[in-house]
Amino acid sequence: MIWNPQRECADRQQMQELQASALQAMIRRIYNHVPFYRNRLMALGIEPGDIRSVEQLKLLPFTTKTDLRDNYPFGLFTLPQSEVVRIHASSGTTGKPTVVGYSRADIELWAEVVARSLTMAGIHNGDTIQIAYGYGPFTGGLGLHYGAEKIGATVIPISTGNTKKQLQFMTDFRASVLACTPSYAAHLGESILKEDISPNDIHLRIGVFGAEPWTGEMRREIEKLLHIKAYDIYGLSEVIGPGVSMECECQCGNHVFEDHFIPEIIDPETLEVLPDGELGELVFTTVSKEAMPLLRYRTRDLTRLHRTKCDCGRTLVRMEKCLGRTDDMLIIRGVNVFPSQVESVLMEMAETTPHYQLIVRREHNLDTLEIRVEVDQQNWSDSIRELEGIRRRIDHNIRSLLGISATIRLVEPYSIARSEGKAQRIIDERHL
């Protein structure tokens, strides 16, 4: 089923007209109400009336995370506080959090795009959704919540953590959908095995996972553990939260709700717009949002866009699963390394688990990479020869994929901390 066929299946010309008029109105709003944007546009000699088509987006300035921090907390709001009904903030690991505001219409818009997303995954009225994303300033919990209520599903707003209670609610309330981060989904799947819960007591059929990059191999692992079909939901709080794009049943990339969030791919170095199919940094312009619209916001996520026809019938542009964030990317001895690449190597091997951690150090001015991998509790050997064989195979596969060598360290199952929110995959001790 398609929640909003008029928008999700619009032909290209209709979509461009829709985007153009929304973009014009958005530029007028930010020019009139946000000094930061007015100054930027004036510096470029651009008046709101100058922009008439989506094609002209490339003339406009970018917004970065630094701009958000510089205007902390409410400097980029277009509306007076009396019209802002909600504030979310993402925890900045360094410095100030990133703050976003929502008007009443923004909350409605958010529920709409999440409703489209859930419908896209085959979820409908009658489903029971266990929302194990964090509720609070993080957008995951409440974002999913409103969309799930909008489609008439039964919501279990359990938030993250307390695995025992998660499993109890999952079985007793017969949850049919699980929404959380992929690493927490894997953790719940393992806990089901560990607690010896019968598969007959688990009624899940669909998983909606996002908020951290994950690979196709990890998807298959989770699907096998939980006996579900797993879908990727993409979003970031700066744009709206979860529901910026979503996978359909074809699973050939995420459909971007481009009537509200116009995507572009740019070269992160030259800042030039790249054609469809080329890998670059994803940029969004939020044309419909009221309280805090962003112009060409640089997500730091690396992906590609595709506009070829999708079998699901939707015409919305698709983005590939993100390879990682530009700031997740490690540069080790001059080589770009994404945790997702390491993950794909591990997941292709039966003897390891998706639980790993990368530790980067600098010894005698040389970067070293250590990869800690948990041995698989179900599938390990007491023969040191075999364990060393596994270690050498990981080593070999990592080296042939990344082109750099790493120290592979096998560790005990459950010795790497399980995430209840986002997994901490990287420990960089270089302090660059």
Partner: protein, 141 residues
């Protein structure tokens, strides 16, 4: 005449082995034989214990990675040539030993042997009239 050996994967972390022996002690599990093989990063503890299933369950509940491996425990007189005789038989039968550990005390010597083809090891040694311990013998050792 196969015996279930307890194998435990141990990360190289201080106190980990003590934690293991504490759990066995608390669960009233007697250790008949024990060996630790170590690599740079981790160790493998192999034990013959009185109640292997109970020990495995207790250790797993405490978060250890535990496996049960079938081994043969040969009993022989504590005198020169006893172990050689066993190995000679295995060599003649072209059976590879993966690992073994042995100990002798007051006229009796014991050798725990692991091979990929462990049932054949038991069969061959019994054919040669060698005494193998069974699980129920372990408390009497």
């Amino acid at each position: 005449m196969l015996i279930k050996q307890l194998s435990v994967f141990l990360e190289d972390r201080s106190g980990r082995l003590t934690e293991l022996t504490r759990i066995l002690a608390e669960n009233d599990v007697n250790i008949t034989a024990l060996t630790v093989a170590e690599t740079a990063d981790y160790g493998m503890v192999r034990m013959v214990v009185g109640r292997p299933e109970r020990a495995k369950k207790a250790l797993e509940e405490a978060g250890f990675t535990v496996g049960l491996t079938e081994v043969v425990c040969a009993k022989m007189p504590d005198q020169p040539g006893s172990l050689h005789r066993i190995l000679q038989i295995l060599t003649e039968e072209q059976i590879n030993v993966d690992y073994m550990y042995a100990f002798s005390n007051s006229n009796v010597a014991l050798a725990v042997i692991r091979s990929a083809d462990i049932s054949r090891v038991a069969g061959v040694l019994q054919q040669h009239k060698l005494e193998l311990l069974s699980g129920s013998d372990l408390y009497q050792v």
